[in-house]
């Protein structure tokens, strides 16, 4: 018991320790959380009328951002899988960072869903036993199950690895017996959360832009691009500022995954657009709206072409060896652009334009409110502060700076 307590204390105190820049970053996130708690309170007490959603576009920025968090969370297995499936020594140590990303982003996604709900006080209705989940019909039930299981799988994995390393009992042989199956399950579970999230969208026959078989493939490829982008950024940062070794080979593998994923995104988009546009039936109406606007409503047009252009440009850029090897300048820039592109793609290309035309042929534009923006920032700030603190603590343990001392625990 004393060991666990001192683990929590040491981990926590190391996580908040840092230079002035680190402190400034934490205070910056805290200030967003502070402002956000007011807007969150407003929304929770006054209802979703404060956000931009309407009966024509019932899905808001929260929902769009939730899909993005599922992207990144699912992609974090790409850090874990090489270490455990291919026994890459350079990756195995870093697997825990991948799991931290997965856990933080799933938790952020679940927070987004809390903001999305009209009655968050009634969420217990979905729990089996006290509630009444619509199993096996409702896709949202599946999504709830896979997201929560993924969250706790990763939480268990992270705490186990870090704790064992902390107390210095990290024994790979004993580990293999029961822990490796858990990790394997988590690796398989990653794509699953994503496929389920895609099915939540594509199961709606009336949303002609979503009801396509390529949606899960598109999601997985976007996950493969956006997740590793964040991983590369994080690893480059860790290697520059801490003692944890990150080999070039790790970065190169991640870059290769990003490149392949971007290529697959382009293929998925191309096949989707070809199929819709060749016959150009009523089902292509939302796509036409995204691409060219409708009767002067053309808010999404620049976003559409900007996103497509950015994906193609990043794909070309990452094929250039000079960019791939430019660990200090170009690679971080490209990774940031990819991350932001996929983030913006969700509301501006996937979610909002899909609601025009409505079942009555209405074309609408979505205008988020200030409160909505702040609640989105609030949720992201919570996610990033968790990610920062968890990563910082984990780095301390991996670098051997945080260790269990008997004298401390003997009290």
């Amino acid at each position: 018991m004393g060991k666990i307590l001192s683990f929590a204390v040491d981990f926590g105190s190391y996580a908040i320790k840092g230079g002035p820049k680190y402190k400034a970053w934490l205070y910056f996130l805290l200030s967003i959380i502070l402002v956000g708690s007011y807007t969150a309170y407003r929304q929770l007490t006054e209802g979703l009328i404060l956000v931009g959603a309407t009966d024509q576009i019932p899905m808001e920025l929260f929902f769009a951002n939730f899909i993005f968090t599922a992207h990144v969370a699912a992609a974090a297995i790409l850090v874990v899988a090489p270490g455990y499936f291919y026994h890459r020594k350079d990756m195995k140590e870093l697997a825990v960072i991948g799991e931290i990303i997965a856990m933080c982003f799933v938790a952020t996604g679940i927070t987004f869903i809390l903001f999305h709900m009209g009655r968050p006080d009634r969420l217990w209705h979905i729990l089996p036993g006290i509630g009444y989940p619509n199993f096996p019909n409702s896709m949202l039930v599946y999504d709830t199950i896979v997201l929560n299981v993924y969250l706790y799988l990763n939480l268990a994995g992270i705490s186990y690895i870090l704790y064992k390393k902390y107390v210095g009992e990290f024994d790979t042989k004993a580990l293999a017996r029961w822990f490796t199956p858990v990790i394997y399950l988590a690796i398989v579970w990653g794509p699953l959360i994503h496929i389920c999230t895609a099915f939540v969208l594509s199961s709606n026959a009336r949303m002609s832009e979503w009801a396509t078989a390529v949606l899960p493939f598109g999601f997985l490829s976007m996950a493969g691009a956006s997740g590793p982008s964040l991983v590369v950024l994080l690893f480059l940062f860790i290697r520059k500022h801490t003692k944890v070794p990150v080999n070039d080979s790790v970065i190169n593998l991640m870059t290769a995954i990003i490149g392949w994923s971007l290529g697959i995104i382009i293929l998925v988009f191309a096949s989707e657009y070809f199929t819709a546009l060749y016959s150009n039936t009523e089902h292509a109406a939302s796509l036409n709206y995204s691409m060219f606007g409708h009767n002067g409503l053309n808010m999404y047009v620049p976003w559409f072409w900007g996103t497509v252009g950015s994906i193609v440009a990043c794909f070309v850029a990452i094929l250039i060896p000079k960019v791939r090897k430019s660990y200090d300048l170009w690679l971080p820039v490209v990774c940031t652009v990819i991350f932001l592109t996929i983030l913006v793609e969700k509301p501006m290309m996937l979610v909002f334009p899909a609601f025009s035309p409505s079942p009555f042929g209405e074309y609408t534009e979505y205008h988020p409110t200030l409160i909505e923006y702040f609640n989105v920032l609030f949720t992201w700030a919570i996610g990033f502060i968790t990610l920062t603190l968890m990563t910082k603590g984990a780095v301390g343990i991996l670098a051997g700076e945080v260790r269990y001392h008997k004298t401390m625990a003997s009290t």
């Binding site: 009966d55 009209g118 209705h125 199961s203 042929g361």
Partner: protein, 355 residues
């Protein structure tokens, strides 16, 4: 606010209140104050704020269908007490079960409809929809242009591909393409024509759309908590106290029939309809879905829906699809009948007909 709620609770219960009951009410009221929102703070009890005064017991109640008879009775009494206090008039919440051997069906004559939208407003009055900012309407009337007057002889040889040096193998896309012809195609539809517009406009025809009460409702399949379900009469209903407000049903519905309470619903007490049903027109709360129920508070008692009674031209017919002598069955047998968006395979029990 707490004091006011206590006061109204006491008033509602009558004067015979012991100290113990009073303390219980204090507990309930302060819990209600916790649950109630600050938006409802200004709205004192006695005014029309459905969210104020939701007790802890109410927010913890289970799915209505799964309740025992005693629990149902308690839940109904709780609601009646709350509504009576909130709207200042005796409100009844019925839980009359679905009549046996009845499958409700609706038929609408689109050649008769004049687009006056009296049905829309009668529905709002009858079903206690939120009135202001925004007014929630369950029926939407599509105003669709008749015919197409842009076909032109001078476009006969124009189009794509254009004639060129390489030869003229015929126009594959004619110049008269891309001009929609009036019909049920949602292109060119106007849903929000002004209320004071003279109707009917002879260049348009009108198609009211409301919940189609599908036999295979995609909304019911999508609901993660089974808050919405098809009742034995074939009507898709919602337990407003069980809905979690995730809006998956709204995504699934191909008819845009579902309406969400984005903010606090508001009904002026003098306009509130006090004769309600649990699954029908009882006042809803913030953050839940609602939709047309074929006025089940009326139809379960053998009356016609409010929209039908309001229609000045008799375009609307309602009845039992299992009864061969009902209006709806006769219409299906003799008229040109179609279902809206048949390609969605939802099998609506709302039929449109011509003639």
């Amino acid at each position: 606010m707490s004091e006011e709620i206590i006061k109204t609770n006491i008033e509602a219960d009558g004067v015979k209140q012991g100290r113990r009951d009073f303390l219980k009410n204090v507990g309930i009221a302060s819990a209600a104050a916790l649950v109630a929102s600050p938006a409802s703070v200004e709205a004192s009890a006695g005014s029309a704020n459905p969210d104020a005064g939701i007790t802890v017991a109410e927010s913890l109640q289970g799915h209505f269908v799964l309740m025992s008879d005693q629990e149902k009775k308690t839940a109904i009494e709780r609601l009646e007490k709350r509504y009576t206090a909130q709207y200042g008039k005796k409100t009844t919440v019925s839980d009359v079960p679905a009549p046996k051997g009845v499958l409700f069906g609706y038929a609408l004559n689109i050649s008769k409809c004049i687009g006056c939208r009296r049905c829309v407003h009668a529905c709002v009055q009858e079903n206690n929809q939120s009135r202001d900012n925004p007014e929630i309407q369950w029926i939407q009337v599509m105003k669709i242009p008749k015919g197409n007057f842009s076909f032109a002889a001078d476009k006969l040889d124009t189009g794509y591909p254009k004639s060129s040096k390489l030869g003229d193998y015929g126009v594959q896309v004619g110049g008269n393409a891309y001009t929609a012809v009036g019909g049920l195609s949602p292109e060119e539809v106007q849903n929000y024509y002004p209320q004071d517009e003279a109707v009917p406009d002879k260049n348009y025809f009108y198609v009211p759309v409301q919940c189609q009460q599908c036999e295979k409702p995609p909304c019911v399949k999508a609901c993660p908590v089974r808050a919405t379900f098809r009742d034995p009469n074939g009507v898709v209903v919602i337990d407003y106290n069980w809905c979690i407000g995730c809006r998956m049903c709204q995504l699934a519905c191909p008819y845009g029939a579902r309406r969400f309470n984005w903010g606090e619903p508001n009904i002026p007490p003098e306009e509130m309809n006090p004769k309600t049903h649990y699954f029908g027109n009882r006042p809803r709360m913030r953050g839940v879905m609602e939709k047309c129920t074929f006025c089940l508070q009326r139809t379960r008692e053998g009356r016609n829906p409010a929209c039908l009674e309001a229609c000045p031209v008799g375009a609307r017919k309602f009845g039992n699809l299992l009864d061969p002598t009902s209006d709806v069955r006769k219409i299906i047998a003799t008229k040109k009948v179609f279902r809206f968006k048949e390609e969605m395979s939802t099998y609506p029990k709302f039929f449109y007909f011509i003639g």
